[in-house]
């Protein structure tokens, strides 16, 4: 491996339709899900991940509004206003599902019974700090359940576009936005790269097809350790 210094600025965007970028990120993140595990998908793009997980591998989806074992969105016209994920989108019930209140839902999370969460990110730092809930002066939605998920799930996958709309790196040496949780992210998945957070620093595990290590490094705001050669996805 060799360390590459971050290059400030970087090329804007990575091309491609935003919906396509989201789809590519969700598809790659879905491959992180281990059969037979319990997973919570954050609100927003992480919700799309469910579409790429095979139905027959025994993954149990948990929602912090109080459900274990939700399934795919029902066909149009069959939605139930009282059967949704934490993002308020209609879901269905799978065999073995259960309903409970939100103290129990977060009890599972804080107790460490959740194998994985996939969360959206505004920034991820080189040591795995996550910022995903607040842009001071611009966007103050509140943290919702993100702090519990980020701090307590056994494995945290942060997904994000590699840079902001303005081309600013979202993977940075130090987060400048208020944190969701410290040292919590294990893996970062973007449309360009899969990056692992290790005690030694960020390791570039995979680069998206059609993109180069140099391109990824240029768009990353923190040093990257690069195996020779990294994988391709």
């Amino acid at each position: 491996m060799s360390a590459r210094a971050p290059r400030p600025g970087g090329v804007v965007g990575t091309g491609g339709d935003p919906a396509d970028v989201r789809r590519r990120i969700a598809e790659r993140a879905a491959r992180e899900i281990v059969p037979g595990t319990v997973v919570n998908l954050g609100i927003g793009v992480p919700t799309l991940v469910a579409d790429f997980v095979p139905h027959d591998i025994g993954v149990i989806f948990q929602a912090e509004n109080g459900m274990l074992g939700y399934g795919a969105a029902p066909p149009p016209g069959h939605e139930n206003g009282h059967l949704t994920n934490a993002g308020g989108l209609p879901v269905s019930e799978t065999p073995g599902a259960s309903y409970f209140d939100s103290t129990v839902a977060f009890g599972m999370i804080r107790r460490g019974r959740l194998d994985m969460t996939i969360l959206g990110a505004l920034q991820v730092s080189a040591r795995g700090d996550l910022a995903n809930w607040l842009v001071p002066g611009r966007r103050v939605p509140g943290m919702g359940g993100a702090m519990e998920l980020a701090q307590k799930a056994r494995r945290v996958v942060a997904i994000t576009t590699h840079t902001s709309k303005d081309g600013e790196p979202k993977i940075v040496t130090e987060c400048t936005l208020p944190l969701t949780a410290e040292r919590c992210v294990h893996l970062i998945v973007t449309e360009l790269a899969v990056i692992e957070v290790t005690p030694e620093g960020l390791v570039l595990k995979e680069v998206a097809q059609g993109h180069s290590v140099n391109e990824v490094a240029a768009l990353t705001g923190a040093p990257l350790l690069v195996p020779d050669p990294p994988g391709v996805f």
Binding site: A63, E64, N65, G66, M67, P76, E79, N80, G81, H82, L83, T84, N85, A86, G87, G88, L89, P90, E93, Y99, F100, D101, S102, T103, A105, F106, I109, R110, W133, L134, V140, P141, G142, M143, G144, G145, A146, M147, E148, Q151, K152, P178, L179, T180, A181, E182
Partner: protein, 241 residues
């Protein structure tokens, strides 16, 4: 507890909406069940709005959507203060907060849930390590216990708590509907007075004793729901599409 109108007898807690609305007044502390508007009692919320109650201090998971759940209370400027985990789905509440018209305190969702439950079961508070190293620490007391650091999170109660049940009986026993359960069971415990709105009021003995989620002892009044009068957000999106 403040003086309030007389409560119905324990053996029949079913009251007309108008009677329940006597318990809401300007400047009160009000707690509500629901998560993104799902599980927030629609008929009681509409009644509070139509009665003109204002200057409310609210405790709930979120501010709903502008036309869904508790949302209209914000849109119609009835809320002075909110303790919630997020308001992202109600940009009007966000605007009011930015303009200083609405005082908002954020609490991590699971911590907020436990604080409400703690109030509901008569605890003083809970010790939580979620949010250490973040702004969630701000203004909180910390405590060292068995070598670990925790935030001291005080219990929450409210003058009145409102919840939305699928079924209720006259003793106040409640069951909920799917993910509309969410915050309702512990909000039901945390009201000095708790009012449940139910889609269906069933005879005493009709609910399976093993499946009752909220035992009637926590509930002071039951009103018949008139059902959801709003369009769910995913229906709105479909209409727009």
């Amino acid at each position: 507890m403040n003086a309030h109108p007389p409560l119905p007898p324990r053996e029949n807690k079913v009251v007309p909406l108008a009677r329940a609305l006597e318990f809401f007044h300007d400047g009160m502390t009000l707690m509500y069940g629901g998560f993104g508007g799902i599980g927030t009692p629609p008929t009681l919320t509409k009644g509070i709005l139509e009665k003109g109650v204002t200057n409310l201090s609210l405790i709930g998971n979120d501010a709903g959507f502008p036309e869904v759940g508790p949302g209209p209370l914000f849109v119609n400027h009835r809320v002075r203060r909110l303790l919630a985990s997020h308001i992202g789905s109600n940009p009007i509440a966000g605007d009011q907060m930015s303009r200083g018209e609405l005082e908002v305190e954020f609490s991590p969702q699971g911590t907020l849930a436990e604080r409400i439950r703690a109030g509901g079961v008569g605890l003083g508070g809970v010790l939580v390590d979620v949010g250490l190293g973040t702004v969630a620490e701000t203004g909180k007391t910390t405590l060292e216990l068995e070598g670990r650091t925790f935030l001291v999170e005080p219990a929450l109660t409210a003058e009145v708590a409102i919840v939305y049940a699928a079924k209720a009986d006259a003793l106040g026993n409640l069951v909920f509907d799917k993910t509309a359960r969410n915050f309702n069971p512990f909000v039901a415990m945390a009201g000095d007075i708790t009012i449940a709105e139910a889609d269906e009021i069933v005879p005493i003995g009709a609910l399976d004793p093993e499946c009752i989620v909220t035992p009637g002892i926590f509930v002071d009044m039951v009103v018949q729901s008139e059902g959801i009068h709003w369009t769910w957000v995913w229906e709105q999106r479909k209409e727009q599409a």
